[in-house]
């Protein structure tokens, strides 16, 4: 066991570090707050992405012809690890690059890959993912947006929801139902779509945080050329699964506050004449959060060790989002409660704001990219090998599946 880079890895890390030092600011101790809906953030994020692209860092693990440098998985992690130490704009390209990119790489034609992947990597064009619908969240294959073939094009009608970043995206990947007479999973087909197409209307959703990073997207007689179909007709679910696998990796850790913030806060916050950190219950909570945070960090190190040796990592990383989202919610709650009846008040104190934002934002994180419950099902079925639930919709044509009020 050791935590040292191999000589090649150390050399690569230094190359990353040197470039980052020349082109970005190291993070100071104050946490940056990113705002998805802020247009300036988009401009800054695009500029940063372009800078990285020109130097080969944008999608370094992609092949050269699409704008990468063909880096290995461990080199990708080393880059991400170094980049995370710098204050750079985040939250704009993750979905496009993390989910849409891989699916285009696997299913698009050579010509399309050459056309779309480099501008995606460069940050010139932003992509979003159009999966969830008002009646299809955890059961995303239950979606009902319709695609009807008309010669060499398809006509799309329906509504998507919870679409992150749709309001500033140029393209989207889309799964729709081409045949409601088939079973649920079999009647789906996958496309990519120009978000500027006539008939697409994007309406931001105001979330409980007050922000709007998600949208409703309405499709009214939207035309998509058949050439923009990804996979065969009826293969939509298979293609979607590729994307969802990547989504879990892309969502990953909860940003916001962690045990260090709770610890620092408890050292200075007064609790009946003593620092809160002297309180037994506070100490036990901090101990437990520290164990969870370390457990996730060390789990990542185990994953990296496997990649570093050229092995396939085990399923350990599947626990990340469940643990970190729940922890975020509890830590936010801890910070707010520590102010007793004044915890309700909005103030200028950035620490207090952070606890309140964590508490308000965490419920979304426990749902996005697979709810806590769906992720537990996935761990149980795919990691522990437990049998699937018997399903009321198995072997039934989609149109005959009970769907309740809608």
């Amino acid at each position: 066991m050791d935590f040292n880079d191999t000589p090649e890895q150390a050399k690569f890390r230094k190359t990353c570090r040197d470039w980052l030092e020349k082109n970005a600011q190291l993070k100071d101790s104050s946490p940056s707050e990113s705002n998805f809906a802020n247009k300036d953030i988009i401009k800054e994020a695009k500029a940063w992405q372009k800078k990285k692209y020109d130097a080969g860092w944008a999608m370094l693990h992609w092949p050269k012809e699409y704008g990468g440098i063909g880096a290995s998985p461990i080199e990708r992690i080393i880059w991400a690890n170094e980049e995370s130490k710098f204050n750079v704009p985040k939250g704009i390209f993750e979905i496009g690059l993390g989910m849409c990119g891989p699916v285009m790489m696997q299913y698009a034609s050579e010509e399309q890959k050459e056309r779309y992947l480099p501008p995606m990597a460069e940050g010139k064009e932003i992509w979003c993912q159009l999966f969830s619908e008002p009646s299809a969240g955890s059961d995303v294959a239950g979606l009902r947006s319709k695609a009807v073939q008309d010669g060499d094009k398809w006509i799309i009608n329906g509504q998507k929801v919870w679409t992150s970043g749709a309001h500033f995206s140029d393209y989207g990947i889309l799964v729709v139902r081409h045949d409601p007479n088939l079973e649920k999973h079999k009647g789906l087909t996958f496309f990519f779509v120009d978000m500027k197409s006539p008939g697409i209307e994007v309406k931001p959703i105001k979330q409980i945080t007050g922000g709007s990073s998600f949208n409703e997207v309405y499709f009214t007689d939207v035309e998509i050329p058949d050439s923009q179909r990804l996979g065969e007709i009826g293969d939509g679910w298979k293609v979607a699964i590729t994307t969802l696998m990547n989504e879990r990796l892309a969502v990953g850790d909860a940003d916001g506050c962690d045990v260090e913030d709770a610890f620092k806060w408890a050292k200075t916050q007064d609790n009946q004449g003593e620092p809160l950190l002297n309180d037994k219950a506070a100490r036990e909570s901090i101990a437990d959060w520290y164990c969870e945070a370390s457990g996730l960090k060390n789990t990542k190190l185990r994953t990296m060790s496997a990649l570093s040796k050229g092995d396939t990592p085990g399923p350990e990383a599947s626990i990340t989002k469940i643990v970190s989202a729940g922890k975020l919610q509890d830590i936010g709650n801890f910070g707010i409660d520590s102010m007793d009846m004044t915890g309700m008040l909005k103030t200028d104190d950035p620490d207090i704001r952070r606890f309140q934002n964590a508490w308000l934002g965490a419920p979304g994180l426990r749902i996005a990219g697979g709810t806590d419950e769906i992720l537990r099902n996935i761990i149980a079925e795919r990691v522990l090998g437990l049998p699937q639930d018997p399903r009321a919709d198995k072997g039934v044509a989609y149109k005959d599946i009970p769907s309740g009020k809608s």
Partner: protein
């Protein structure tokens, strides 16, 4: 970056697993439990023959001269099979104390005999029904003569020697005692995991040898606990994994309402939570194993982190394994209760969960995380 065991260490672990499987360590545990035998002497002798008691003992004292990482992989397997042997008392506590703190004469006398099995050791600390502290130790050592009583000492009957935490005129010291010496009286104490024996030891003018110095014994004891927490942590994750495996298997075999119970989300989510707790504990144990093997300055926080998460994982996995088995899980016949008992024994043997949480936060205050 390599937070993983080496191929040699993995091979050693594989061999240990095969050995304990072949020896039916789990059914041996049941038979010790049912016959009030306190220990399986035959299994212990085989373990001594394999050289496991000498893993960390330097070659100059006839040991194997290997590191803590080798001990960790063995610990995980002993934990998985609930091996009813005094390995934790004799190896993680007693042997480590001798290696770390004893003078050369004592090392020459004791270490080769720990390898050969002539000496088996344990550690005697507690005196009352509460957590021992530097302040509440009353067993007296005057010029290496001991008077007083220790309770809840594991494995004292098969042990030939003990390290005793004793009060001197100037502080706390660690004393090495030959348990066959005069004035030593050992009595069985019934406990809630009878697959491992607990005993009281009464010392009346019993001769002892000083380990370390007359005053700094409590710090040595604490440092020993920081090491031992990692090794106990490995036994705990081994046991957690076994309990989770049992629950998985049962939930696939058992049918209710016309389907495997493992197809119900109530069971899936329970088992997923066990997996999550175990994965966190395992990753923390890996890091602590690294800290232990390199004597890192991080050891106090790393070992407390491993200990807290391993204790939580084993308690969760062992109790929810019973729950998954329903009424069968509550019977003596099913093995579930043996894991439940052992999880409690291991979680208390070197101090409770709440004590280790406190140690963790104290170590964070000292290292000032931010």
């Amino acid at each position: 970056m390599n937070l993983d065991f080496s191929d040699d260490q993995k091979f050693l672990q594989e061999e240990a697993r095969k050995f304990l499987e072949k020896e039916n360590a789990l059914s041996r545990n049941r038979s010790v439990l049912e016959n009030n035998a306190n220990v399986d002497v035959e299994l212990w002798n085989k373990i001594v023959e394999l050289g496991w008691t000498g893993i960390r003992i330097p070659e100059e004292y006839s040991g194997l001269g290997l590191g803590h990482l080798e001990l960790c992989v063995i610990a995980e397997e002993l934990g998985r099979f609930l091996a009813p042997v005094p390995f934790s008392s004799s190896v993680y506590l007693f042997t480590e104390a001798i290696i770390n703190y004893a003078n050369d004469d004592i090392k020459k006398e004791i270490l080769p005999k720990l390898v050969s099995g002539e000496v088996i050791g344990t550690l005697a600390v507690a005196e009352d029904l509460q957590a021992p502290t530097a302040e509440n130790i009353t067993l007296q050592s005057d010029n290496n003569i001991l008077n007083g009583k220790k309770i809840a000492v594991p494995d004292a009957e098969i042990a030939t020697h003990a390290i005793v935490v004793a009060k001197t005129s100037s502080g706390i010291s660690l004393q090495l005692v030959d348990l066959n010496a005069e004035g030593v009286k050992i009595e069985k104490q019934e406990n809630i995991d009878e697959s491992r024996g607990y005993f009281s030891i009464l010392f009346e003018n019993s001769p002892s040898k000083l380990i370390g110095d007359e005053t700094g014994g409590w710090d040595l004891y604490e440092a020993l606990m920081n090491q031992a927490a990692v090794l106990f942590g490995y036994e705990q994750i081994g046991g957690s994994q076994a309990a989770l495996d049992m629950a998985i298997n049962y939930s696939k075999e058992r049918y209710a309402f016309g389907r495997q119970i493992g197809s119900f989300q109530a069971i899936k989510h329970k088992l997923a939570d066990m997996y999550i707790a175990l994965t966190l504990a395992k990753s923390n144990c890996y890091y602590a194993a690294w800290a232990l093997s390199t004597n890192s300055a991080d050891l106090p926080s790393a070992s407390a982190t491993a200990r807290v998460s391993a204790t939580k994982a084993y308690q969760l996995c062992s109790k929810e394994n019973i729950q998954t088995h329903g009424g069968n899980g509550f019977t003596w016949e099913y093995d579930c209760h043996m894991f439940y008992r052992r999880s409690k024994l291991l979680s208390l043997n070197i101090g409770s969960l709440s004590n280790w949480r406190e140690k963790l936060v104290t170590s964070l205050e000292q290292s000032n995380i931010n």
